[in-house]
């Protein structure tokens, strides 16, 4: 059971559509694993629905309905609107590896990772930690998968911005508690912590750091790495 939920305001910003893509990815993956947060997001979305109802309508152009119907006639069975719908189904070929199989990687994340965790070109950062960058070009954020060897201690580190860490496999424990699959740990800038991975298996996390803009320069990039590595 998911114990550590992200702050309400992160879920609210996801529901309103304000959240940047990296954090939306984290929240969409988290709500797949947490019925409680899912319910919360639904509730926030229903407030959006209520606000949509109460908005002052803006008149559509003359003939707008006919134009829509004409388009329907032109392509009556045009399938899903990808932008609005859920992401693609996991492909059967993905359901093989022992780590990060189709059944275990939530769909929102799967569309970004596209293969089993075992098959990823992990970048080793020291003997205990490996990482894989997602959305490397997204400005102002650092998004990555982290793999911490079972039982290993992560070197003490700080973050340039706030860091949100979603556990996907295994677990870790730090000063604030134990985090398992679906849990989200939040660390503010300047918090120093030293997580230890559980012994049951490698701990795989999705970590998103929202470095403040001033930190996106070379210095920021350095600070975004574990300083001890």
């Amino acid at each position: 059971m998911v114990q550590h939920l992200p702050p309400e305001e992160l879920l609210l910003d996801y529901a309103t559509g304000t959240l940047a893509e990296p954090l939306s990815l984290l929240v969409a993956t988290h709500v797949t694993l947490s019925p409680e947060s899912r319910r919360q997001v639904r509730e926030f979305e229903s407030i959006g629905g209520a606000l949509l109802e109460s908005v002052e309508p803006a008149e559509m152009a003359p003939g707008a309905l006919d134009a829509a119907l004409a388009e329907i006639d032109a392509a009556p069975d045009a399938g899903g609107d990808e932008a609005a719908g859920p992401a693609e189904r996991p492909r059967a070929a993905d359901a093989s590896g022992p780590s990060g199989t189709a059944a275990s990687v939530p769909t929102p994340l799967r569309t970004y990772v596209q293969r089993n965790f075992d098959a990823l070109p992990w970048r080793e950062r020291g003997s205990n930690v490996a990482e894989f960058d997602l959305l490397p070009d997204y400005p102002g954020y650092k998004t990555r998968l982290l793999r911490i060897r079972a039982g290993a201690k992560v070197p003490q580190h700080t973050h340039a911005g706030g860091e949100y860490t979603l556990v996907l496999e295994g677990s870790f424990t730090d000063e604030t508690g134990r985090f398992a699959r679906g849990d989200v740990a939040v660390a503010d800038a300047d918090v120093t912590h030293q997580p230890v991975a559980g012994s049951e298996g490698d701990c795989i996390c999705l970590a998103v750091t929202d470095a403040p803009l001033k930190m996106t320069g070379p210095l920021g990039r350095i600070l975004n790495y574990f300083v001890d590595m």
Binding site: E45, E53, E59
Partner: protein
């Protein structure tokens, strides 16, 4: 705020399709809606959900026309508030309504009210078209989905009713709280940007928002 009826009917009249538009607005209704309902483009949550259910079953132009009359002008207004110019807002509102037509079979009235469902489509279309980003979204069929432990069916049937209550509840919020909610949902602003714009401390913005949310939540819990 809702005095002005949506304005599709007059424009449709010019197009020669008036016969069925008028029928859609006032004619016999086969979807279990109140037959004495006012013939207008305004829909209750229950009516809107019924119309979506009809669309899911068959390509029903009358049902679509009624949904269009009610929602297209609201979606357009939403998109304009989020910075789309008139032309783009119009175009995207059209696309949102086409998505409503095409994906009506995915609407689950136990999970959400009609306006909530359409809000999420509009929100995602906006992110895609204006912000040019992908919107990572929950997949209800995801094999990794952790199901809700306690999910009594009778509680879920309330979505439409809840929607109606929420719509009213939002109007009873103190204006300072309602304004913050609208900025959060309609202006794509972070809490600190809102604080800056209003000249309020960030903490005040956050606590007012929390107050508004918990107030709405407690009203919803009363329905459960």
């Amino acid at each position: 705020m809702r005095q002005r009826p949506a304005a599709v009917a007059p424009s449709a009249r010019r197009t020669g399709r008036d016969s069925w538009v008028v029928a859609a607005a006032s004619g016999p209704i086969q979807t279990g809606m109140d037959p004495d309902a006012e013939p207008s483009s305004e829909l209750t949550a229950g009516q809107a959900a019924d119309l979506l259910a009809t669309l899911a079953e068959r390509a029903d132009r009358q049902a679509f026309a009624r949904l269009f009359a009610h929602f297209a002008p609201r979606v357009k207004s939403y998109l304009r508030r989020l910075g789309a110019g008139d032309t783009l807002a119009e175009e995207l509102a059209q696309e949102v309504m086409l998505t409503v037509w095409r994906r009506a079979h995915l609407f689950d009235r136990r999970q959400a009210g009609a306006s909530t469902w359409i809000f999420t489509i509009a929100r995602n279309r906006r992110i895609d078209a204006i912000r040019r980003e992908k919107r990572p979204e929950l997949d209800p069929q995801d094999p990794a989905l952790v199901p809700e432990a306690d999910d009594p069916a009778d509680k879920q049937v309330e979505a439409g009713q809840k929607q109606e209550m929420l719509r009213r509840a939002v109007t009873t919020l103190p204006e300072e709280q309602a304004a913050l909610l609208r900025m959060s949902y309609f202006e794509d602003k972070s809490h600190s940007a809102i604080a800056e714009e209003l000249g309020l401390p960030l903490g005040t913005v956050k606590s007012r928002l929390r107050l508004a949310l918990s107030r709405l939540r407690s009203m919803l819990e009363d329905v459960d």
